[in-house]
């Protein structure tokens, strides 16, 4: 069992006007892969470092399997960490880098050799055990850093943006390797990144952070399809969710939402909420892939009125095209399979999948 509990954790750096982490409550279950994601400066690395013991929390409690580890130095926490810049010791060979923690802890020489070889086998580092870090490629260095982390068999792994220094191809490769490794080791992992694709692909649960506070904590799919607020909606997904200001209009016994010239009839459950709330302003959110060509819309979904759009820009991503659209001042992004010819200046008829709309109140919180 390796359950990590953060109980009312606060971090305030002296001299700063506001708390980096105002008050955080979070439970990471045994064997869970939790990803902390958020923009730069949202406090995600600070949280990781407080769990590691590299910085002290201003107040609050960190516990591991029910044991309070708040005041313990990093070495007594039974936690490993993989750093953004690998943090390999340049004067030591790969073998000595991996064996470092075991040597410090006074493990038997034969035991060290066995475990290092096991880790090297797992990470395909057997051939480079005698080399120094400077002789390795970025991917190999990252694997050595992983090797150093797993060889001690700690209760918890912490990852601080471990893939951000790799090129795109290697990043995808290493991401898959990390996922496989986690499935094999079944250890609790807390992973910090600002890359949402890493968050979506690796996590059992994603915590989206905003100014040190949890904006949403959910499964990747839930975060993507049902963001709890406009911050999460705008942050997760690439391209981001389209957000429009809208006003409610009562019409013939039902409620409509009007964003510029677009009149949308929300689903019945939302209408009920709109009636009850009586806010003056809302925000409509829709993912770019939930906007369809009017003549190709799927039959099973309900759609809003047809929008005559001018294409301001068409960005081809190979199999997909990202359309920058303008429908009478209502500007949004739509993505579509790139199986038709389109260029800037063309006009297209598009429709919104109404059932997929997210509606946020004036404070930015989702209605349902």
């Amino acid at each position: 069992m390796a359950k990590v509990v953060l109980d009312r954790i606060v971090k305030h750096y002296p001299g700063n006007d506001r708390c980096t982490v105002p008050e955080l409550n979070l439970t990471i279950e045994d064997g869970e892969f939790l990803v902390l994601v958020g923009p730069s400066g949202c406090g995600k690395s600070t949280i990781l470092r407080m769990i590691a013991g590299l910085i002290d929390a201003t107040s609050g409690r960190v516990s591991l399997d029910g044991r309070d580890i708040t005041g313990l130095p990093p070495k007594d926490r039974d936690i490993s960490m993989v750093f953004q810049n690998y943090a390999l010791f340049p004067h030591l060979t790969v073998y000595d880098n991996i064996a470092f923690g075991l040597k410090i802890r006074g493990a038997e020489r034969s035991e060290i050799a066995r475990r290092v070889n096991e880790a090297a086998e797992l990470l395909d580092l057997k051939k480079v055990l005698d080399k120094k870090p400077r002789e390795l490629s970025g991917g190999q260095r990252q694997r050595v850093a992983l090797g150093r982390a797993i060889v001690r068999q700690p209760k918890v792994f912490l990852f601080d943006e471990p893939l951000s220094n790799l090129d795109a191809k290697l990043r995808t490769q290493m991401r898959a390797e990390l996922a496989k490794l986690h499935r094999r080791l079944k250890a609790t992992a807390i992973y910090v990144t600002h890359d949402q694709s890493e968050a979506m692909t690796l996590a059992d649960r994603v915590v989206v952070l905003h100014a040190g506070a949890v904006a949403q904590c959910d499964t990747p799919l839930e975060i993507y399809s049902r963001p709890k607020n406009t911050f999460v909606a705008a942050f997760m997904g690439s391209p981001a969710m389209n957000l429009f200001d809208a006003v409610p209009i009562a019409q013939g016994g039902t409620m409509l939402l009007k964003a510029r010239d677009l009149l949308i009839e929300p689903p019945a459950d939302i209408v009920r909420l709109l009636r009850a709330r009586k806010d003056e302003k809302y925000t409509l959110g829709i993912r770019p892939e939930q906007i369809y060509l009017a003549d190709r819309k799927p039959a099973e979904l309900r759609f809003g009125p047809v929008l005559d759009c001018e294409i301001e820009l068409a960005e081809s991503l190979g199999d997909e095209v990202c359309l920058h659209c303008d429908a009478g001042g209502l500007r949004f992004l739509a993505t579509h399979k790139h199986d038709f010819a389109v260029k800037a200046g063309d006009r297209l008829s598009l429709v919104f999948a109404v059932d997929k709309l997210r509606i946020f109140d004036s404070a930015g919180d989702a209605l349902a």
Partner: protein
């Protein structure tokens, strides 16, 4: 052509520097009759000057004393200056910058100014004519602290944090990570300290009277100036050769690190 001229100038400069040293080496193995000649060549080379020194003064003992004093001082400077440099570069504590400025300030005070108070202190501690009296004043140096601080600042914090996660304490981090990574700085501080300590004449003259506790430069100065050498220039220069030889050997062995250390410190500083 321009390059040739440049090389000739450099060659002339090199000869100017090296000739006195070579002449000293040559005279030390010449018979007394040839000592006055400026030539580097001797028709009858001899080690008579060296054997004269060993006959007349306990030079072996002085060599031993110098080795003990210079080695201990160097080891101590390396240890304490790197400790201080580590704290000033990587640990956060109140007054860190002020403390660093105070340490820098000590480098600006001329040694002669502290000579008398230091002597009084050593006398009061009863450390005259002892290794403690010779070693204690040089056990830490501002320059050493400065060099280590500047070197350690350039070592990424993440290495320190990684070592901490792996179970190292502060001393472990220093010994296992920072010392090996700061090899050029270690060699630079080591050579500078060893050389200064080895060449020191004034301080040993003040605190040591007992011939058995004298260091090499002190003994050789007294031997040459005090008249024991009988005015024989060959014997005096042979004594000087014995004095400079360990430094020359150490420097040529560590030269690469030394230059690297000086250069790195220059850039970072």
């Amino acid at each position: 052509m321009k390059k040739l001229v440049l090389h000739l100038v450099l060659l002339a400069a090199a000869v100017t520097f090296i000739y006195p040293f070579l002449w000293m080496a040559a005279v030390s193995v010449k018979p007394a009759a040839e000592a006055a000649s400026l030539s580097l060549w001797s028709a009858h080379p001899t080690l008579a000057s060296y054997s004269a020194i060993f006959r007349q003064i306990p030079i072996g003992r002085a060599l031993c004393n110098s080795l003990v004093v210079a080695s201990t001082t160097t080891a101590s400077v390396l240890f304490f200056c790197s400790l201080a440099g580590y704290a000033l570069a990587k640990l956060r504590f109140r007054g860190r910058e002020t403390l660093f400025l105070v340490i820098l300030l000590t480098m600006m005070i001329p040694g002669q100014l502290t000579l008398i108070p230091l002597y009084t202190l050593i006398v009061k501690l009863g450390w005259t004519d002892s290794y403690a009296g010779l070693i204690a004043p040089g056990m830490i140096s501002g320059l050493g602290v400065l060099i280590f601080r500047q070197t350690f600042i350039s070592i990424p914090d993440e290495l320190m944090e990684a070592a901490r996660m792996e179970g190292c304490g502060e001393l472990g981090i220093l010994a296992r990570i920072f010392w090996p990574l700061a090899k050029p700085a270690m060699v630079t501080v080591g050579i500078i300290t060893f050389m200064n300590s080895w060449n020191e004449v004034l301080w040993p003259m003040m605190v040591v009277r007992d011939q058995q506790m004298m260091t090499m430069p002190q003994m050789i100065t007294m031997f040459s100036v005090g008249g024991q050498a009988g005015g024989e220039i060959g014997v005096e220069l042979a004594a000087s050769m014995l004095l400079v030889l360990p430094i020359v050997l150490a420097y040529s062995f560590f030269q690469r690190y030394f230059i690297e250390g000086i250069a790195t410190t220059g850039i970072k500083g």
